[in-house]
Subunit: 396 residues, 2 copies
């Protein structure tokens, strides 16, 4: 009666949601403060005051056309401001016409994939990766090719990528700072990747787009400098969302920024805007386009996330967990101390800790902790982690 | 380099946009008040005060979680209120779980089609029809089957529909009040259609969904009662948007209401929510879910539209234009007085009237006028229509 592809995907598509629901059940039994729920990437800090103020002001002033249709690419003045903001920060030379406003990064990725993919073409993703990529690629008849990152660093493995590029490769999606590892891909490795891709394009007479999924690019720690993908790769798009940097995930507001070095860029931009229209997004929500344009440069308090990272990272590694230190985002991705991560998940539940096993991210021997929860929750969880480590056989 | 399907569709996909741009050019030359632009369905009345007040209040009070992720189906309390509102109005028995909040009707239609279509399955649309349906259906590998409505009334032609239903028919989309004709499909005809569809499902052992695209259902005139699709068809969804009834087209807020008589409805709802998620909508914009839930029952001033309809309809028919009297929406769809509608479009441009030829709506011998423009613009346009009618050879 329904789409067979959708029905097939429904089964087992929601590992994160399933863990979230186990958490909700436990909270009903034991009380919310007794359960340590690290399952969901739902940011807990409020949006920055600049955002809340723009929202209040716009709602009160109600300028004409605030809720009306505009160009399917988004308001021109908003796109101009965003282009200028990126140019100032990273020395790019973007114009308003290099930007398409989107319904978050999820919307942006779908729009890009719709615009470029023909059935049977391949898209490389680097594991561990965000669970939804497989569905996004399948939406447009593409094939996902999973290439593991380097063990021990989670950095792109150039040799493995080189081997995976075929004449059918149309794109490579990566996500840095990474969900679930928190790793920032190194500029040096990405620069080498750019040469590698150009060589392969020449070899196969093909076109390979680099699609950087970057909702966490403004959540980085230890004064690390985020590489600007648009300066590194010729055929690249940066898909951004304000969900995390401004704690606005429910509002679905983001953009696609397109490298100005792409040949025939006008046709590419038209294809993106067309895809945005016919997938039914039509345009990014109008009020929040204006809100974020008034708040460029604002972010949530990144120090809060860094404190939480430190709290949890040092406690876990002290206990003997093996874990790469995150440089951004708000996830830890430690190795499971038990060979069977599902067993470890159950053990964690016994200690009222909700984790997400790594199999959904393409890395079954790990588990994810989303530390976008209150610092108090993290503090309260530390003894539970200690007990869990002991029971899992870790000791130092 | 790009998706071939998208490239193919880019050409000639934007008849309305093209006319809008011709209008903008003319306005630059002659001044905005000298050009009568009937090209775009961008509502000109402001949102009702109830909506603006909810927005101001929510922005000021900033309740916790206002911009956070929620269930991909939308806030439960919002869905409950909408279900209750429909039940009160139309005697349905919907619950929160029969509703999925969507990014407008464009988003809702894509979600429904993704959830039900397998490649090669057919979807019937009744011409004249909203230009985007073809793209929406193609997104999921479906085939659009165009069935003309009755000449002279634009009502569904049951015999023609019956002939067009095959074992591959998976759905029928219709839009009432209709864009571009303004016609409301009669309850009697729809009831007959329901029997016809059930017979065909039995004959072919198939499942045929009725997908009602209803963004104009609250913009009806002459105290007409809108039929409730969910009471008429067993396997039906009503896809609604607040774009027109609340003048919020830029905000992308609407819903899918699903008949509670569908078998295995839980799986269907799961499929819809999954489609909403993996197409990248994730959820309908959160703030506007809350805004519209506080404003149920409010609409823009429908009398204004009715006045405009009367002004334009009576003037045009007096001049000898042949036109069905709209019962809803804000479009007129008169017959072109010249055999070649493209010629007539040019003639209209000479009189600074911007129309959209009917070929994009599947009915090339007609043209569309969107009368969601100021009453003054309509009044000022009347002499131009008189001159145009004369030059086109109409006289009574």
């Amino acid at each position: 009666m329904l789409s067979e592809k959708v029905l097939k995907n429904l089964r087992g598509s929601s590992a994160i949601r399933a863990m979230f629901e186990e958490g909700e059940n436990l909270k009903k039994i034991h009380g919310a403060d007794k359960v340590f729920d690290f399952s969901l990437g739902n940011p807990d800090p409020p949006p920055p005051e600049a955002v809340l103020k723009s929202l209040r002001d716009l709602a009160r002033e109600n300028p004409p056309g605030l809720h009306a249709y505009m160009n399917n690419a988004g308001y021109k003045d908003v796109r101009e401001k965003i282009a200028g903001h990126i140019n100032n920060k990273d020395g790019t030379a973007l114009a308003a016409d290099n930007i398409v406003m989107t319904c978050g990064a999820g919307g942006g990725l779908n729009v890009v994939l719709k615009a470029i993919l023909n059935p049977g073409e391949e898209v490389i993703v680097l594991s561990p990766f965000f669970v939804e990529y497989g569905f996004y690629i399948e939406n447009y008849g593409g094939t996902m090719v999973v290439v593991p990152t380097e063990k021990g660093t989670f950095q792109p493995d150039l040799q493995a990528i080189e081997k995976s590029i075929t004449p059918k490769t149309k794109g490579i999606i990566f996500n840095s700072p990474n969900n679930p590892t928190g790793v920032v891909y190194s500029e040096m490795i990405l620069t080498s990747l750019a040469y590698l891709i150009e060589d392969k394009e020449k070899e196969f007479h093909s076109h390979i787009f680099v699609i950087a999924d970057e909702p966490y690019r403004d959540i980085v720690y230890d004064e690390i400098k985020m590489p600007q993908i648009l300066n590194i790769f010729k055929k690249s798009v940066s898909v951004y969302s304000y969900s995390k940097s401004l704690s606005l995930p429910g509002e679905r507001i983001g953009y696609i920024a397109v490298s100005d070095k792409i040949e025939n860029i006008d046709v590419f931009m038209e294809a993106l805007v067309f895809a945005n229209r016919v997938l039914g997004f039509v345009n990014a929500p109008s009020l929040f386009q204006k809100v974020i344009a008034e708040s460029l440069g604002a972010t949530v308090n990144v120090n809060i996330y860094q404190e939480r990272r430190d709290l949890l990272y040092y406690h876990l590694t002290d206990l003997g967990f093996s874990c790469v230190k995150p440089q951004g985002a708000f996830y830890l991705f430690p190795e499971s101390p038990l060979e069977n991560t599902a067993e470890f998940k159950k053990l964690a539940l016994k200690h009222k800790i909700i984790i997400v096993p790594g199999n959904g991210f393409g890395s079954p021997e790990y588990f994810r902790l989303a530390y976008c929860v209150s610092t108090k929750t993290i503090e309260n969880s530390l003894p539970a982690f200690t007990a869990l480590a002991k029971e899992a056989g870790l000791n130092k």
